[in-house]
Symmetry: C2
Subunit: 401 residues, 2 copies
């Protein structure tokens, strides 16, 4: 008996010693990129069905299902046919002052296409998936969210649960980020759709409480309005949760706290990380941490509004996109850090937050920049990056061996 | 005998197990600041005599000796009396076009005072210390380096070993960073002394190979010129090691490789991390990674010059200063990283370098910024930060307990 105890202790000791050596070795390990898949058409988001099986929304392509092991890619059928794909800019739209005349006749997808894809919190039972995309009505567009049942790689019972009217000819800043809060509600970012602030109406769009654009919305998963949404007053949009937002794409839940964080694009600089608070007004276009594209733009004062500052803003252009909190075990020193990818210069940021304060920011892979749309974590805690390219990639961020 | 072996293994095991737990715990530990001393007059640099005993150069004060345990501070006597301290700006200097007329009659130390202090590689035997400071001759100034013997807190046998003539009325960009290379030679940064590039002569100062300003120099510790300095041609300054440098302060040896790295201030942005190479030309004022203060400044082309790019440049203003490679054990994950402090916005950067490539940069303590002049490491590997304030501090960067 005593021998057995001694033997156990020795084994424990040896194992701990090896573990200890491994930990010391780990301290000097560094992150590296491993391309798991390519050939994706500007992938925007990823929703994991299991560790290796995921739905990927291609901005310029389809909703697809990928297997990260076999590299198989299957197009999900049944996608709504009002999806705006490649379009030719119609110069009649200039009367809306929405984009520069230099784009006349240009063909492209611009900011349009398929955006976020998320699973229902109860997906294993109800098989509901939610997709945000740009819907087209003649020569006008807006962001639409549909809910559908995923059955044998087909979207069934597709139902629009949110449409960010009005439809306009603008081709920018649709938002389209989504996340389920810990409260089971669906949060949706909707951009204000203008490219330049000079085209703002007298009451800037994002400050107009009767306009769905430039807002973050909160709805029930069936499209109805939660009773406990913040009250913006009589005649205002009831799905609004926060306002004064220029162009937010990513938003994510902080697992430790349940708080929701979102990124926002500024004009020149002014890219931000924000903490989502009910009823908050983030200031655009009246107040910005960047500078206006048109130096002479003179926003109205709106003295009755109280503005919420961002938690962080960059002094350089980042164009931050889909973000996620890391909770995996592969990089213990990164636990609970926020990761943010960027379109501009392909930046990839690690942000250490304490409470509601940013303590430090690390820009990783500055020698291998790639325009990136989304950071995501797999169910087992692996960290992935989606690149915004014609030949879009799913990259695993792993420890250097 | 066998019992003793088993007992040893058990002990080893237990100790390794505890160590292992400690390492896992460490992964979540974070850096924090501990103010060890204050009351220093804009400390510029620190030279450790032992773990707790150090010389500190106060830009706006004295060369002092501090004990980090007892907090005692002793002024070192015998400092050269041509030290430029507080001065009143003399408007006659405007003819040199060196500073804006708005400074007329202003009193201050500006960029002047005491800069770097370093010990001789053989200090334990010869007691030689090297100090860079601004020497004054009537209303003109330049950077001077003296060597002296430190005896009972007095500088003895003070001897000028380098003077960056000419003396001019300019009050900016003296350089004054120093380090001994692994080759035993003393490397010195000298700024180009102009505040605005609009005041450049037809051949920009830093490109003038017959002018000591805007260069990094390499001398023997007695002030003589090493025979193996790069050859810039007939009639050029023989102490020059690299040229085309606007305003470099810090330079440091990478312990692993012996390479020397230096920081450089741009005008608007263009702050850089450079790798020092013999005979290299870093481009100023012909080429810059920032923008000129005067948009209309039109530098000469100098087509015969080959320019060396920085290893890194920031897109925002940092004003990087004294830097050091970290080799301590307190933060194993930071081993061999470069640390850079900044004057602008009090930034504090951790830079991971592989070979000659920057892989990532982390800005730490973004919620507790303090204008900082120098990062240094103690003999036992502790990390220190010197703040550039009237009430200047020595801050230890330590693991949060």
């Amino acid at each position: 008996m005593r021998k057995a105890i001694i033997f156990t202790i020795i084994l424990l000791g040896i194992s701990a010693f090896i573990n200890s050596l491994a930990n010391i070795a780990k301290a000097n390990l560094i992150p590296e990129k491993e391309v798991l898949m390519d050939g994706l058409k500007h992938p925007w988001s990823i929703a994991f069905l299991s560790e290796h099986d995921a739905l990927v929304s291609e901005k310029d392509g389809d909703l697809v299902r990928v297997n990260l092991k076999t590299k198989q890619k299957t197009v999900i059928k049944g996608f709504p046919n009002d999806l705006a794909r490649k379009i030719t800019i119609n110069s009649s739209a200039y009367e809306f002052g929405i984009y520069p005349t230099s784009l006349d006749g240009r063909t492209g997808s611009f900011n349009m296409g398929i955006f976020d894809v998320v699973l229902d919190p109860n997906f294993s039972k109800n098989k509901f998936v939610y997709v945000a995309y740009v819907a087209q009505k003649k020569d006008t567009f807006t962001t639409k969210v549909v809910r559908a049942k995923l059955e044998n790689n087909v979207l069934k019972n597709v139902r629009a649960i949110f449409v960010a009217e009005p439809f306009t000819p603008g081709v920018w800043h649709f938002g389209g980020g989504m996340t389920f809060g810990k409260d089971g509600k669906l949060y949706i970012t909707i951009g204000e759709r203008l490219f330049n602030e000079i085209n703002q109406p007298p009451l800037p769009i994002a400050q107009n409480l009767r306009d769905k654009r430039g807002k973050i919305h909160r709805i029930n998963s069936d499209g109805t309005i939660p009773k406990d949404n913040p009250d913006f007053g009589v005649g205002t949009i009831k799905s609004m949760y926060a306002v004064g937002i220029r162009a937010a794409q990513g938003l994510t839940v902080e697992p430790k706290t349940g708080k929701i964080w979102f990124t926002e694009h500024g004009t020149n600089q002014g890219d931000e990380i924000n903490l989502l608070k009910p009823g908050a007004n983030y200031g655009w276009a009246v107040k910005t941490t960047g500078t206006y594209r048109y130096k002479n733009y003179n926003p109205p004062k709106l003295p009755d509004r109280v503005f919420t500052d961002p938690v962080w803003f960059w002094r350089q252009t980042v164009a931050p996109t889909g973000l996620t909190f890391y909770t995996g075990d592969e990089f213990p020193e990164w636990k609970n850090n926020l990761f943010v990818s960027g379109l501009s210069r392909g930046s990839f940021w690690r942000v250490r937050i304490e409470g509601e304060t940013v303590k430090s920011l690390e820009e990783l892979f500055v020698d291998s920049r790639v325009r990136s749309r989304k950071v995501a974590q797999s169910p087992e805690g692996k960290l992935y990056l989606l690149t915004d390219e014609d030949n879009g990639k799913i990259i695993r961020i792993r420890r250097n061996k």
